[in-house]
């Protein structure tokens, strides 16, 4: 049986994913430090409203409210025994919203990072990470998601563990990493590294790409980095609505709906087929992105100059793929094997 995403990708040139989950829930009254996943059971009406917001704004894909729904994260709220229940609930609410949309909408079961550092640098063993993700994947599957959506990953081992979990759950999946450190992930992965990582997996994702990170310009540079590797697999661009700013005691993201519309069109021109937002992306942003993608004709692949002209500059001069990154210093002593 062909999965829902593959079917949609066969019919359409581009698909729109959703925007921010956390930002939107905070606006609905979620308190800092509380687990958003608990709301899947405590306030299912609000979660349905979150999903419907994306669907009504034109999203073809939305992510379930389960980003922190793995045992490692839920442990911080003493809810590690509720992984199955909270993920199933996140998925069930999503399934219902999608089935009433009146058009095909893909329910993607969000899986965020464990928040732990993996061996040998940290303490989380690969096998434990697989187990943690697998438990969550089974909950999402039970609740009826169309596929799993792994996001905001920094470490290659963690990405591999999530892929293995999807294989064990016998589910199609997509997976994005967050490139937030001079164009690389926190763990030093470049866009080119990620392409190699993805293609070496046993259970490869339907689509892969970048989410979150440092703003729209950086995210598009990462997409161009993927494209430069000659990838055939559909690419995902899910960037933040600008950069957070502090004003009068409040935080807001400085990316306007107009800027995100520009970003969406540039993302498509850069080669992304699944385009959405991340932190700070409201339904107002999504509506403008959808309008722009629907009405504006595709253009040539943008250059870095075009991107910085239209969306603002980059956070670093190099993203580690152009050979212009700082060189490793020469050793004074002798290297040992």
């Amino acid at each position: 049986m062909t999965d829902a995403l593959t079917k949609l990708l066969a019919q359409r040139d581009w698909l729109m994913a959703d925007g921010a989950t956390g930002t939107t829930l905070f606006n609905m009254g979620l308190q800092s430090g509380d687990s958003p996943e608990l709301w899947n059971v405590a306030h299912p009406d609000r979660i349905a409203r979150l999903y419907r917001g994306a669907v009504d704004a034109g999203s073809d894909i939305f992510l379930t409210n389960s980003f922190g729904g793995n045992a490692a994260r839920l442990k911080l709220h003493d809810a590690q025994h509720r992984v199955r229940e909270l993920n199933r609930a996140a998925a069930e609410i999503g399934r219902e919203v999608a089935d009433r949309a009146g058009r095909p909408v893909v329910v993607a079961g969000s899986i965020g990072p464990t928040g732990e550092i993996m061996e040998p640098m940290g303490t989380l063993a690969y096998s434990s990470a697989v187990e943690i993700f697998h438990e969550q994947a089974e909950g999402l599957k039970e609740g009826g998601v169309d596929l799993l959506w792994v996001e905001t990953i920094s470490a290659p081992e963690e990405y591999r563990a999530a892929a293995e979990a999807a294989r064990l759950a016998d589910m199609p999946w997509c997976g994005t990493m967050s490139f937030d450190t001079s164009g690389r992930t926190m763990m030093g992965v470049t866009s080119a590294d990620m392409v190699k990582l993805v293609e070496k997996l046993e259970h490869r994702p339907l689509a892969f790409g970048a989410n979150c990170g440092v703003g729209a310009s950086d995210l598009l540079r990462t997409i161009l980095g993927f494209v430069a590797q000659g990838v055939e697999r559909p690419l995902i661009a899910k960037g933040n609505a600008g950069i957070p700013k502090y004003e009068d005691g409040h935080i807001h993201y400085d990316g306007t709906p107009e800027l995100m519309a520009e970003y969406a069109v540039l993302a498509r021109d850069a080669g992304a087929r699944i385009i959405g937002g991340c932190c700070g992306t409201t339904t107002a942003h999504l509506e403008r992105m959808h309008e722009a993608l629907s009405t504006r004709a595709p253009g040539p692949r943008p250059t870095l100059e075009m991107i910085s002209e239209r969306l603002g500059g980059f956070s670093s001069a190099s993203d580690g793929t152009d050979g212009r990154q700082p060189r490793s210093r020469s050793r004074r002593g002798r290297r040992r094997g």
């Binding site: 940290g122 937030d180 926190m186 030093g188 932190c279 700082p326 060189r327 290297r335 040992r336 094997g337």
Partner: protein, 237 residues
């Protein structure tokens, strides 16, 4: 490595003179070789080096290079964590000896992720790098209330307060902590450093912190600069 095996693989630390051993240890630190660092520390102690000299001239000097390369985008978090781990191995041997010999202290930092925020990778990284630079670090963990920070600062007679936040919704709590310190009249007794992905310099200034630190390497540099300034002030009367 197989292709250049032979003499390169047969470095015997105890056969190196002090100068060569120091450089070799700094390179081993760079490569995160914990056992080699522990061995090197023991050799230097046997040769009569003062624990404080081993700490500052070898380990801290070596971590400085790691920190600089992290700042410059040459090294990334995994390498830094391995280096910090190797450093920790050496510190475990030196710490009791440093206390015995009454060696001068770099300074003490109380660190924690602010109330409402449960993200701790960045905070842990800063803690490790600060320890790597020879600071003593008191880690209050995640979801830290203003009162807990202040209580720990007093109890530990700390020099520095470090606050971390990963969420835009939790970063304003840093201002609550600083304002509480002001109310109690103790704000100026401490160096306040803030960090976290969504922060920037402008935010640090707006809430009254001494500095915003972009990453762990910058945090260490900033802490060193402020602590030495504080010491200078004190000796100037």
């Amino acid at each position: 490595m197989a292709n250049d095996a032979g003499e390169d693989d047969e470095i015997v630390l105890s056969e190196l003179d002090d100068e060569a051993l120091n450089l070799q240890m700094q390179d081993d630190l760079y490569d995160g070789l914990k056992e080699e660092i522990e061995e090197g520390v023991r050799i230097l102690l046997e040769r009569g080096w003062a624990p404080y000299d081993i700490l500052t001239r070898v380990l801290v000097a070596g971590m400085q290079v790691v920190g600089d390369d992290f700042r410059d985008g040459i090294l990334f978090v995994p390498e830094v964590l391995l280096a910090a781990n190797a450093m920790k191995g050496g510190m475990a041997i030196l710490r009791p000896l440093l206390a015995e010999t009454g060696a001068p202290k770099m300074g003490k930092m109380v660190i924690g992720t602010v109330k409402g925020d449960i993200h701790d990778i960045g905070k842990n990284l800063v803690g490790m790098m600060m320890e790597g630079a020879g600071f003593e670090v008191i880690d209050l963990g995640i979801n830290t209330e203003a009162e807990s920070y202040i209580e720990a600062l007093k109890r530990e007679e700390a020099d520095i307060l470090g606050m971390s936040a990963l969420l835009t919704t939790t970063m304003p709590y840093m201002k609550v902590v600083i304002d509480t310190m002001k109310e109690k009249g103790i704000r100026e007794d401490y160096i306040v450093l803030v960090g976290g992905a969504p922060l920037n310099e402008e935010f640090g200034r707006a809430i009254g912190a001494d500095a915003y630190c972009r990453d762990a390497a910058v945090a260490v540099e900033t802490a060193k600069a402020f602590v030495s300034r504080k010491h200078n002030r004190m000796s100037a009367g």
